[in-house]
Subunit: 384 residues, 2 copies
C-alpha cells in the first residue's frame, strides 16, 4: 500500500505531518509519499531516523491557504500538494491521499480529480463519532450542504458499506438524525428521506435524536445533510470546550484551596519528620486533596476529552469519489496524522471505498442500489 | 400581573408544578391561576402553606398526552389546560401562560388561540443558551422547522426586541448560526438570509459558528431555523450527558481507589487517636483524595451542569403570537417552574412580547419592519 500525505497541510505542518508519516511508516511498514515543498519536507525528515522506511518526497511547491476558495484554488494551483497527491491516486501511482490541510480544497480536488463514482449524486464526508458504547459513522459532515432526500439514502448506502468493510460493523444499523423518533419528526428533507430509507433494504432503525446516538448507541451509521452534520460536530466541540472552560473558571476562583493544597503536603512531611504528626495527619487527610485531584481525575477527564475529539481517530473518508481520500483535522499532531494514515491504509486493504464503486450500481430507475455486504447477505430488515 | 400555569403539564406534574407556583407566588407577589384537573391540584395545594398568596384554580380536566398530535389534540380537547389557559390570555383574564407540558401542543394552541402578530409570518420559540460570558437568546428551537430566509430576519427582529426589553441587552448583537464566519458559508437558507440581515437595520454581526457563540460570546441573539436550532440544543444536552457518563464510567473502574478513599480517613483518625500518627499522615495525605474530590470538584461540576441545562433558566418564550406564552422543559422541577413563571412575569412587566406587536409594523412591500428599541435609537450598524 502506498499513501500520499499532504505534508504541508495542517496547522502544525510540516513538522507534525512529517513526524506522523515517520510514525506511520514505522508502524504499518507501508510506503508513504510526502507531497509539498521539497526542501521544507527534507529538512523535517532529516530530524528523524528513517533508515529502513520507505518515505519518498514529491515536490509540490504551491500551497493552498485556508482563506482561498476551494475549487478556484484547486484549478489555479496545479502544483499544490492537493492536486499533485490526488493525481497520483487517480493515475494509480498511489492508493490513497491524506490531508490535514484546507478541507474544502481537499474535497473539491478529490471530486474534480478522482471524479464521482458512477451512480453517486453527491459525495459525503464521514467521521467516526464517539458514543457511550462504541463509535458510529456520521455523514455527511460538510461535503454537501444542501441535500435532496435521495442523497441521504446514498449517504446511508455508502456509510453502510464503509462501516461494514473498514470498521467491521456487520449489517450496520442506519439512523436518520432528527428531532424525534417518530417518522413525522424532522424538517421536510428528513421527513421525505424517512420512507425512502425504510424502503432501501438497508438496516434502517428509524430516526435518532442526538442522545439516542451518543448515549443510547442505537446506530452504527448516522445520516444527515452536510450543514446539519457540520453543526453537529461543531456544537459537540464547542460544548466540550465550554464545559472545560467553565470548570476552569470555577476552580480558578478557589485560590485559597489551591494554596493550601500546595503547602499542606509539605507541612505534613515536615510534621512527620519531626514525629509530631497528629496535626499533619489531620491536615493531610482533609486539606491536601486538590493536588491529588489533578492526578486522580486528570487521566479520566483527559480520556473523555480525547474520546470527544475526533482528531484522535485520524480523519474522515470522503465517500463517493473514485479513490481513498482521508481528511484529517487541521489541528492534527503527529499521532493524529499517523492515525489518519492508518485509516487510509485500512480502507485500502479492506476495499472499503472501492467496495462502494463495486456494489453501487444504481439501476436505470434511479432506485436505491442493491448492496452486498461482506457477510454475503443483503442488509437485514429493520430491527427497531 | 396574573399568570396561568398549566399545572398538569410536565413529567413531574402536578406535584412540582404546584410547588413551583407556590414558590413563585411567594417570591413575586403576583397572582397565579392553576389550570388542570381541579381535585388533583387542590390535593397538591393542600400540602403547602398558601396563606396570603393569590393562587386560584381553574378546572381543566382534559390532559393532552405526550404522544398526541399537537394541533389535533388542541382542537379535540377544549377543556385541556392548554386551551383553557390560553383562552384566558386571549380574553385578557390573564397576562401570560406557562406550560411544561407537551411543547408542540403549547405552540399549536398558542398560535391557534392567541393568533399571530400581524406581519409575522411564523412564530419562533426562543431560549436562553449559556456561553462563557453571559447567556444569549437562541431562536428558533423548534416552532418552525422549515424556514424561508425572510422568516429568519423576522426571528432576528423579534429576538432583538425580546433581548432588549426582557433581558436588558441594549442594541443586541445578532448572529446567524452557520458553519463558518464568511458570508459564503451555510446552506442555501443561511446564504440567502445573510444579505437580508445585513440590510435589516439590526445590529447584525455576521455568521457565528457554535464556538463563536458559546466561547467567543460574539452575539446576544443567535438565529437559525427550527430544525437546526432544535439539533443545537439537543446535541448540547447529549454531549454533556455523554461526557458525564464517560467520566462516571472511568471513575467506576477505579474501585480500589474508592475503597481506599473510604477506609483511609478512618484509619487516619484511628491512628491519630492512638497517637502513632506517622503512617496515618502519609496515607491521609496521599490516598484520601477521592473522597474529598467529590466535595471539592462536585460543586463546580454541578454548577457547570446547571449552566448547561436550560431548564434552570425557566423556559422559552414563543415569539410572534399575540400574548406571552412560556414553554418550560418537560423535566422542570419546582424551582424551574418558578423560574419560568418569573420569566413570564418579567416579560409582561417589561412589555417584551407586546413590544413585538407594537413595533412590528411590516410595510406594504413586506420589507423588514422598522424596530425601535428601548434606548430610543434604531439598532446600530454592524459592529463586526
Amino acid at each position: 500500500v502506498r499513501i500520499v500525505l499532504d505534508a504541508i497541510g495542517g496547522d502544525q505542518a510540516p513538522g507534525e505531518t512529517v513526524h506522523g508519516a515517520v510514525l506511520a511508516a514505522r508502524d504499518l511498514r507501508c510506503e508513504i509519499v510526502l507531497a509539498g515543498p521539497e526542501d521544507a519536507i527534507r529538512a523535517e525528515l532529516a530530524k528523524h531516523r528513517t533508515a529502513g522506511l520507505t518515505l519518498t518526497v514529491v515536490d509540490a511547491p504551491e500551497v493552498i491557504e485556508m482563506g482561498e476558495h476551494p475549487a478556484q484554488a484547486v484549478r489555479r494551483k496545479a502544483r499544490s500538494s492537493h492536486v499533485v497527491g490526488l493525481r497520483m491516486v487517480r493515475d494509480k501511482q498511489a492508493d490513497a491521499f491524506v490531508s490535514a490541510g484546507h478541507s474544502g480544497a481537499t474535497m473539491a480536488a478529490a471530486t474534480l480529480i478522482l471524479g464521482r463514482i458512477r451512480g453517486i449524486e453527491r459525495p459525503a464526508l464521514a467521521i467516526l463519532f464517539p458514543s457511550r458504547e462504541k463509535m458510529f459513522l456520521l455523514l455527511d459532515i460538510g461535503a454537501t450542504t444542501d441535500c435532496k432526500p435521495e442523497y441521504l439514502v446514498q449517504f446511508a448506502q455508502m456509510g453502510s458499506i464503509y462501516a461494514d468493510r473498514a470498521l467491521g460493523y456487520r449489517n450496520p444499523r442506519v439512523a436518520l438524525l432528527a428531532n424525534g423518533e417518530e417518522s413525522t419528526k424532522g424538517d421536510r428533507l428528513v421527513q421525505a428521506a424517512y420512507p425512502l430509507l425504510r424502503a432501501s433494504g438497508l438496516n434502517f432503525v428509524g430516526n435518532a435524536e442526538p442522545k439516542d446516538a451518543l448515549i443510547g448507541g442505537v446506530c452504527d451509521v448516522l445520516v444527515c445533510d452536510g450543514f446539519v452534520g457540520n453543526m453537529f460536530i461543531k456544537q459537540a466541540q464547542a460544548v466540550v470546550k465550554l464545559a472545560l472552560s467553565l470548570v476552569q473558571d470555577e476552580t480558578q476562583h478557589r485560590l485559597p484551596l489551591r494554596l493550601a493544597a500546595g503547602l499542606v503536603p509539605v507541612a505534613a512531611l515536615v510534621g512527620m519528620a519531626q514525629d509530631g504528626a497528629r496535626w499533619s495527619a489531620l491536615l493531610g487527610t482533609f486539606v491536601a486533596a486538590p493536588l491529588l485531584l489533578a492526578s486522580l481525575l486528570g487521566p479520566p477527564l483527559r480520556r473523555v476529552r480525547r474520546k470527544a475529539d475526533y482528531r484522535y481517530y485520524g480523519g474522515g473518508p470522503l465517500l463517493g469519489v473514485k479513490g481513498v481520500a482521508i481528511i484529517a483535522h487541521g489541528k492534527s499532531d503527529a499521532s493524529a496524522i499517523a492515525m489518519a494514515i492508518r485509516q487510509a491504509h485500512d480502507a485500502v486493504e479492506r476495499g472499503a471505498v472501492t467496495g462502494i464503486a463495486d456494489v453501487f450500481v444504481a439501476d436505470a430507475q434511479g432506485a436505491p442500489a442493491a448492496i452486498e455486504l461482506t457477510n454475503g447477505q443483503r442488509p437485514g430488515a429493520n430491527t427497531a
